[in-house]
């Protein structure tokens, strides 16, 4: 039986889309996918906004570097497609969850990355304090598109494998918790950061 539909960040099925240095495995990030499938959720893969915009050779970036009108328009177009898909499932009465990537400037659902001063030659040190509470650009645009359509916003969970503080068990527990919360999508604003 299908419990509902999980719209997942592109890289959960395709780590090849990651920024150089970010792929944790060859293809499918199976820990998260296994949780979804074991719980009976249908999987729908969202697009990677960064891959099509800045390509495979992109640098690691923070929100501010992607927060431009042109990238917003790009994300809005992609978000409309995802919202079209979500709308189909909502009309069928199916439960929806959104699985993002914490720390991502595009796909973060509770944690994104921010550094207003970042730019120029990319020589920032590891461990720069860039993580901050909030959503990535694409997730923001998807929220706006769903709200514009009166669909509300799904429950969210974030995979944490890009974070230095990644705890595999906590990641899976978070996913499992969100899948089993049940109920209808009804968030009125961005979720509070978990950390």
């Amino acid at each position: 039986m299908t419990m509902g539909v999980a719209f997942v960040a592109h890289c959960l099925l395709n780590q090849n889309a990651k920024t150089d240095g970010g792929a944790r495995c060859p293809g499918v990030y199976s820990p998260a996918v296994a949780v979804l499938r074991d719980a009976g959720w249908r999987i729908e893969q969202m697009p990677c906004p960064e891959l099509a915009f800045t390509g495979l050779n992109r640098f690691w970036a923070v929100r501010e570097q992607y927060d431009t009108p042109a990238h917003r328009r790009h994300c809005q177009r992609l978000a409309q497609n995802v919202a079209d898909m979500i709308e189909v499932h909502v009309a069928r009465g199916e439960d929806i969850v959104l699985i993002g990537i914490e720390g991502s400037p595009s796909m973060g659902v509770c944690i994104t990355s921010s550094d207003p001063s970042r730019g120029g030659r990319p020589t920032w040190p590891d461990g720069a304090p860039e993580l901050t509470s909030g959503e990535g650009i694409f997730i923001e645009e998807l929220r706006r598109e769903l709200e514009r359509r009166g669909l509300g916003f799904p429950r969210v969970a974030g995979c944490t494998h890009p974070l230095a503080s990644h705890d595999p068990l906590a990641e899976l527990a978070g996913l499992t918790r969100v899948l089993h919360e049940g109920g209808l999508p009804a968030q009125s604003g961005p979720p509070d950061a978990e950390r």
Binding site: N16, G21, C25
Partner: protein, 130 residues
């Protein structure tokens, strides 16, 4: 790509292999085990206009992988995907409609290796490495 575990292999995959019917063949599990990334094609029951827009965007992303020499295959039949790939200027990738895990494994094993990604990347692409 120090510390990067990507496989440089991408399978455009029909929805039925990602979300198989109960008791059906689970293509995603095989693709995972064989170290392939998946780009899921939209299910056939979405509106045609929605599918067309999604496939146009998807083809652009496939183009980026192709440009960098990643190995690309198509698992399943999808005429609209073929059109989108052609419109993006991509050659038709190797394709199959496997009915079981052995058929999919054999198809993936025969797929062209990643090309033009440098010796380090090619070594990383030689196996799942997990």
């Amino acid at each position: 790509m120090d510390g990067d575990a990507r496989g440089f292999r991408v399978a455009l995959t029909a929805d039925g292999y990602v979300n198989p019917a109960p008791g059906g063949f689970d293509g995603l599990a095989v693709l995972d085990a064989e170290g392939w990334g998946v780009m899921q094609l939209p299910a056939a029951d979405y509106p045609a206009a929605t599918r067309a827009r999604i496939l146009t965007d998807l083809a652009e992303q496939v183009l980026e992988f192709a440009r960098h020499g990643y190995s690309i295959v198509l698992v399943g039949e999808d005429a609209a995907a073929d059109e989108a790939l052609a419109a993006a200027g991509l050659p038709a990738p190797p394709r199959a409609c496997p009915q079981n895990a052995d058929e999919l494994r054999a198809f993936l094993a025969a797929a062209p290796a990643p090309d033009g990604i440098g010796p380090d990347a090619a070594a990383a692409a030689s196996g799942p490495g997990r």
